[in-house]
């Protein structure tokens, strides 16, 4: 406890209203933690020009981030990040677990809410010129947070492993290969291989659950620290470096406004999640050739942009221009250095931002228009939506995990076929093509392949893989003539 013998340290704390002594457990806690001085430090923030509704977006984002962390941790109670379980577990969450659909919807719509709040927060900062006056690092920190949040939205999208998730992420990771030289290795690193698969899901999961949230926490902390150090910028007429206006404390009025805004967000999110639950579609089927992937609405304009600038312009449109725009955006406080914060005195920054927003919205509208005016696409999109609705109505199917070694494969009469069956089961063949050549997510079925190809052709294919087989991840076969003949005999015996 501080005693009255000490003079007040600063003029800003002249009110002397701190409790002189508190007894009992509260006093003990205070003595050990100093929490009430910390709270005072947080709540007594001085805002030039007083509290305003325009300042609520930052704390709204903080609230949403916390909500995502909490709902995300709870979802992880049931979720399994593996390509053969992810969809089942999300389906289990949505269809079986109490409040599961609601929590998943809060989490999924929470991402959308964060994007909206980010837009509002950035617009407010740009319009108010709040990045001015020794706030460059604060702004850059915010830019990193924006990138991290977009990364969270992108990585989280794949995790349910439904059709939409799979194809949108496949397209998204393909864009990276536009970057010359380093693009393809980056894509493979992100995917954990050439193709989308269970390793991709693990990687996205680790990014979504460990790496990005850790970075977000660090940068949110820095953002808040830098903000408190720079002090709130206040209204547009305020000088960004030497504030002149009378100040008011954060507590209570601004806190009430911030809490009211967060309350509004909770209620809106809760209502949407309750009445329009977020749908899970049918499980990802990489061989589906009819599926038309569309990204989440906030990425739609980028998608449309890539459609317009295809071919030789795709490097420019997909990588160079967005990269330049991002750099330009991050550099705003470095070239807009005047002390005047009024938006009409900063036409380049404010106008530039307005043009960008209009173009972005315009591209979105264009995409919507072109999708709805093309009868084939709009029919397919409607079909996909209906498939999702139908899937949500189907009862949950538990995944049959069959450790059942009990069912022995029927013993083949022909010893050559039996030998081939042993080779097939022992080698890597059955790992991808299934125990009985029935096919899996990783490789097509082999049943009926004997009717399609002659023995010689099959033997040839085993040792001289086609490009399609190589692309599909088929390893080279290293067998001698006798074993090859046995394997071919077995393959030809696989019939419906």
């Amino acid at each position: 406890m501080r005693s009255g013998a000490y003079p007040p340290e600063t003029d800003r704390d002249s009110s002397q209203e701190r409790p002189t002594s508190i007894g009992g457990w509260r006093g003990w806690i205070e003595q050990q933690t100093g929490i009430s001085s910390l709270l005072r430090e947080l709540l007594d923030e001085r805002i030039p020009g007083g509290p305003r509704w325009a300042y609520v977006f930052g704390s709204g984002l903080l609230y949403l981030f916390l909500s995502q962390v909490v709902t995300g941790i709870f979802l992880a109670l049931y979720y399994v990040p593996s390509s053969d379980h992810a969809h089942t577990t999300v389906s289990y969450i949505s269809k079986v677990v109490t409040s599961g659909l609601f929590l998943r919807s809060i989490h999924a719509y929470g991402a959308t809410a964060i994007i909206i709040l980010l837009f509002l927060h950035i617009s407010q900062t740009l319009l108010y010129g709040s990045y001015k006056g020794r706030r460059e690092l604060l702004w850059l920190c915010g830019c990193v947070l924006l990138a991290l949040m977009l990364g969270m939205a992108f990585t989280g999208y794949l995790l349910p492993w439904d059709e939409k998730a799979y194809f949108a992420s496949a397209v998204g990771t393909n864009i990276i290969t536009e970057i010359p030289v380093i693009g393809p290795p980056i894509q493979q690193l992100l995917r954990g291989g050439q193709q989308m698969g269970t390793l991709t899901l693990s990687r996205f999961f680790v990014l979504h659950v460990f790496v990005l949230p850790g970075l977000l926490l660090a940068f949110i902390g820095s953002h808040l620290y830098l903000f408190r150090r720079a002090k709130p910028a206040g209204p547009i007429k305020e000088d960004p470096v030497h504030p002149q206006l009378p100040t008011a404390r954060f507590y209570p009025a601004q806190l009430v406004m911030d809490l009211a805004a967060s309350l509004l967000i909770i209620v809106a999110l809760g209502l949407v999640a309750y009445f329009i639950p977020f749908r899970l579609g049918p499980v990802a089927n990489p061989s589906d050739t009819t599926y038309i992937p569309r990204p989440e609405w906030y990425y739609i304009p980028i998608f449309e942009w890539l459609k317009i600038l295809s071919g030789k312009w795709s490097l420019f449109g997909g990588i160079v221009l967005p990269g330049l725009l991002a750099l330009l955006f991050a550099a705003i406080p470095f070239f807009d250095r005047g002390r005047d914060r009024r938006p009409w005195k900063r036409p380049i920054v404010v106008g530039g931002f307005a043009v960008f927003v209009l173009c972005y919205a315009g591209l979105g509208a264009l995409s919507y228009h072109s999708d709805s005016s093309d009868p084939i696409i709009s029919r397919q999109l409607a079909h996909q939506k209906q498939a999702e609705i139908d899937y949500m109505h189907q009862p949950f199917q538990p995944e049959a995990s069959s450790p059942a070694p009990a069912v022995a494969p029927p013993v083949a009469a022909d010893p050559l076929i039996a030998k081939g069956a042993t080779i097939f089961a022992a080698g890597p063949c059955s790992d991808c093509h299934g125990d009985h050549g029935q096919g899996t997510d990783m490789a097509p079925p082999l049943i009926g392949v004997g009717q399609k190809y002659s023995s010689d052709r099959l033997a040839f294919l085993l040792h001289h893989r086609t490009q399609r087989m190589i692309d599909g991840g088929m390893p080279p076969v290293d067998l001698d003539q006798a074993d090859t003949n046995a394997l071919v005999a077995y393959l030809r015996s696989l019939k419906q």
């Binding site: 009110s15 002397q16 209203e17 909490v70 709902t71 709870f74 109670l77 049931y78 379980h85 089942t88 577990t89 389906s91 289990y92 079986v96 677990v97 109490t98 409040s99 599961g100 609601f102 929590l103 507590y251 209570p252 806190l255 009430v256 809490l259 309350l263 909770i266 949950f396 538990p398 995944e399 049959a400 995990s401 069959s402 450790p403 059942a404 009990a406």
Partner: protein, 172 residues
Amino acid sequence: MSTHRQDRRSFLGFALTTVGGLISAALAVPLVRFAAFPLRRQAEEVSWSDVGKVEEFRSLNAPAARAIDVKRIDGWRSTVAKSSVYVLPAASGKPKVLSSVCPHLGCSLRWIEKQDHFVCPCHGGTFTADGVHVSGPPLRAMDELESKVEDGVLKVRFQLFRQLVAKKEPVG
């Protein structure tokens, strides 16, 4: 700072704490329900597992261990797990089937031919060849499982029972 202002601040603080507390409590409800879901689930119907042809057990003169496949829904998957049961000798009629799970703390009981007893390897509980408790910490006899003979096949319903109590009560 006037007293009036201080009153207003402490009232606001109180109001904010109350409203915030209520909202947090409301939000916690779905979270708690979500996390506690496995506790609220109804016990599912126990399925019948095949033990073997009833003829095989006619010639027994000591309890015989058999591994059975037990189908069950394990969260989001349906699994087939191996469990062990003891089939007791029965010259005619339906043989008695005992669970191998010790009613004390759940270790696997062993049939020790030389001692003519079931012995728990963990805490030394012993049972007669009929599963009746002889000595050691267990509070009840070995658990008999519901069984039936269908088309000459002995079938059993594998269940777990509450540990550490004198009464046999099924769990899950």
